[in-house]
Amino acid sequence: MKILYYPGCTVKTTAKAYEKAAIGVLREFNIEVIELSNWTCCGVYPGLSKDNYYHLVAPIRNLVYAQEEMREKNIGNTYLLTLCSMCFNTLKSADREYRQNNEARERVFYFMDTEPYYEARIRVVHFMEVIRDIIGIKNLRRRVIRMLSGLNVAPFYGCYLLRPEGIGIDNPENPTVMEDIMRSIGAGVIDYPYKTQCCGGYLVTKDPDAVWDRVYTIARAAMDRGANIFVTTCPLCAFNLEEGQKRRKDRLGGILPVFFEPELIAFALGKEEYVEEERLETLNNLLKK
């Protein structure tokens, strides 16, 4: 099947490894990922104010682009794939607001009167939902040729994959989808209290030290429970976890490598070409131990 894909800014800059692995993994399951030929910023952060609708403009405009491209290219379904948790949440929240709130729909329509009308038929999905609901974790398991049994994964969901309820892809208090996927490729998973918590997000621009301290708390908890790798799907979580551990290395006494979920899946499928070289080395070293 074909699936239309909205990349977002960060998978095109600091998280290229994520995109490469995710598209590769989906190709292995005969899902052809078609990138939107025209996209802008998703709008970052679903708007929380209710007295105006400016925060809907960017996400709805992207959904309009997707809608038009779906029609032109005969995609055959209404999924819009996202990799970044933030893009996923922003687009999906805007879509929900647009469907439920008549005033919002009208205001956005008049504001964007040069664009085609958004018919609200798109279903924004995250990479992990595609693995769980379209491919199926059982089918993933069947294709694994290298069990990652040396890994003890600390899953890190972050905020915007889970909250608010109704937008998030799993139970916001005790999600299991990442654990299920990790176990299916043979990796061990640890339980620790911070998997659904915030990494510090954009506070890193205002008070980086507060974020590094936050990361210290998270990494300490994961290390004490025997983790040897962090797995996440949010490029901002990945950056904060990586950089924060570097800054607090002395106190932590080590650094857990941070990987994106599809990188590990690609490795387990035996498709090393989808993982970047220096990261491949890190993985091999972890598995040797």
Partner: protein
């Protein structure tokens, strides 16, 4: 001119701070509560009693909208939206919380952090 803070917050966020029972679950889960001069449940209370000093606090800028407070609230108050309203009262007067060019780690930060900051810290 006298303005009612509770009313102003309600008009921006459509959230009713009156519902709060001060149980403190929002503050218990808040990842940055220890950095805040007022904890989330205190901020909600200050909105309710019309204490404008919360608008000038540093606490509102330590909220990173992780939505855990909103999720845990037994009274279904969108606490994050109330704090967002307090930020917007500042931002709509062009009182920015960061100077984007002056960000310390500017060279290494991913775009998502910078766009997030420009959305949340600048008007």
């Amino acid at each position: 001119m006298y303005r009612d803070l509770a009313e102003e917050v309600r008009s921006i966020s459509k959230e009713n701070a009156e519902l709060c029972i001060l149980c403190g679950r929002c503050s218990a889960i808040c990842p940055f509560a220890d950095k805040m001069d007022f904890k989330p449940h205190q901020m909600v209370h200050m909105v309710r009693i019309g204490d404008w000093s919360v608008v000038d606090s540093n606490a509102i800028w330590y909220c990173v909208s992780c939505l855990y407070c909103t999720h845990r609230c037994p009274r279904d108050i969108n606490v994050a939206a109330i704090i967002e309203a307090l930020r917007l009262i500042n931002l709509r007067k062009r009182k920015d919380a960061v100077e984007l060019r002056g960000i310390k780690e500017l060279k290494i930060l991913p775009t998502i952090a910078l766009v997030g900051a420009s959305r949340k810290y600048t008007g």
